[in-house]
Symmetry: C2
Subunit: 329 residues, 2 copies
């Protein structure tokens, strides 16, 4: 069964709790709190689907999964605070490896001043981890993907496709200039919490983290905001090393590679200078890659301009190691 269908089928048409502000359909759910809202999301990481022993040493399994969760919280404009971990542990797993996984999580948790507050451990055949993350955000600072409006600028932080290149280098034991940088982008990505927090005074911003490739993230923004989006192929920021890769792979990675955990979003044009200034302060590249358009057809569309042609950007979802397609609920 296609998981996209499943998610569509199980989504509640209405919610029963009046304190729920946002349920299924963004990077995280938002629950009304007292002085601040609670933001929560889940991410699951399965051996041989999301990682292999070859590409992800135990320390990075923990680090990378928690980073993905923190990235969801960043994409909501929130501050990560707590997490719960559920681990399915194969019988032949060594104690040292388990502790390394935890050390990877704890390293990042310390950095963000987060607490591990619960979870469970289960024996099973395949190593699988699921993290639930909880953060806080004030009401006027939440970033929904539904906040894009026509004439907005579409921006992205950092460079895209680096994590995919890093995985490729690990899988095929290849060495290139700055190999360790790309490998680190795959194993030890940096969620953009600080960037999103510094930008919290900007009055309106649609925001997603690039977990599944920008083709998918932009489609989510255009769907949620009921707008079209056009981006310039040549404007998409990629590393020099990625430019040396054959064009088909380069495009695959920059549009569909995912796992870069950069931020992609839209803001009013007059706020773009402020955003770039924030990027400068944090040494994070902020690039304009396109614009938001009024919806032209019945369904929302994402277009890409290449030289003198404009084509629709296919949204094929994010394909993992196993070739499976998946999604957030």
């Amino acid at each position: 069964m296609n998981e996209f269908d499943y998610i569509r089928k199980i989504k509640q048409p209405t919610y029963r709790q009046s304190s729920l502000i946002k349920g299924v359909g963004d990077d995280a759910a938002v629950i009304r709190g007292g002085s601040r809202h609670i933001v929560t999301a889940v991410d699951t990481f399965v051996e041989n689907v999301h990682f292999t022993a070859k590409t992800m040493p135990p320390f990075y399994i923990g680090y990378r999964l928690l980073a993905a969760n923190i990235s969801d919280i960043a994409a909501m404009g929130a501050i990560p605070k707590f997490f719960l971990v559920s681990i399915i542990i194969p019988d032949d797993m060594k104690q040292d490896e388990l502790l390394e996984i935890h050390k990877g999580m704890d390293t990042l948790a310390k950095q963000y001043n987060m607490d591990l507050i619960g979870g469970d451990t289960v024996s099973g055949e395949i190593l699988s981890l699921s993290i639930t993350i909880i953060g806080y955000v004030h009401d006027n600072e939440v970033r929904y993907r539904s906040d894009a409006a026509p004439n907005d600028i579409v921006f992205v932080t950092g460079t895209l496709g680096d994590a995919a290149l890093g995985l490729h280098l690990l899988q095929y034991d290849k060495t290139i200039k700055h190999r360790s940088y790309f490998v680190r982008k795959h194993q030890q990505p940096t969620p953009r919490v600080e960037f999103a927090r510094k930008a919290r005074k900007i009055s309106r911003m649609a925001l997603n983290d690039v977990s599944d490739g920008i083709a998918n993230e932009l489609q989510e923004i255009s769907d949620a905001s009921n707008v079209d989006i056009i981006i310039d192929d040549h404007a998409i920021p990629i590393s020099c090393e990625l430019k040396d890769v054959q064009l088909a792979k380069q495009n695959e990675w920059k549009y569909y590679g995912g796992e870069d955990f950069e931020l992609v979003g839209t803001i009013p044009e007059h706020d773009f200078d402020t955003l770039q200034q924030i990027g400068k302060e944090l040494d994070i590249q902020v690039t304009k890659i396109g614009n938001v358009l009024i919806k032209q057809a019945e369904k929302t569309q994402v277009f890409v301009r290449e030289e003198n042609t404009i084509r629709r950007l296919e949204n094929k979802g994010y394909t993992h190691l196993s070739g499976s397609i998946e999604d957030e609920i």
Copy 2:
């Protein structure tokens, strides 16, 4: 690696967030909210570890897992409100089965007025589900397992071992009188939310849900409260049908069976009448099974009185279908 050790090793010595009231070490974590606290826990359910296709049709996989989560919230004295679901879906899983799993969850969610607010779907080899539950409770109504005090009465709701008998009947295709009752106790347990809520005016109560067998639950209460506990073997409430089972199995199931999702706890003696009255109103049996004692040795102990002997009740953890031992973080 023994998961008990793992949990001990990864538990943070201190917590970084001042809003955290209770982290690892109870049925759920408690976070300070505005007018009420947030209570959250995770439960994971893996095919061939916690259930098999033979003993758990898809509808009940969803129902049973969410019931276990709700039971954790009940054991904190809280009201369940939201849940997130992470599912690892095998490629050969049929769409109908997935929808049945969801229907099982949704049936219970409707009953408790809960909302499914997020999660993720992942392809993998073994069907696994993990639910994170979020509930609310007012500060003076939270039930910690650390609240037992010497001279308290130890009580339990319902009868114990019924779910284990139900599983046995399913595994060996056996038929006995009231078979459907026992099968239902295994597949479709009723969390005791209403009972715990009605008892919220009782000033002090240590509380656990019987997910892993009372031997384990009582040890957790005695550890957290730094007291000893003594129970009477003959006082433990069991169904008539369980009395017909050979003694070794009977004892195994009533002490270690788990998955009954009844409540076990301790309260001051003068509050026991009130608790029994609440039980009568809800048609839930409430039985005194023992007393809380001052700790006698360096380590806390749980004793059981049988005829004229007193022995320590061994705490061997909860053994699943796969024979693995697991625990909550």
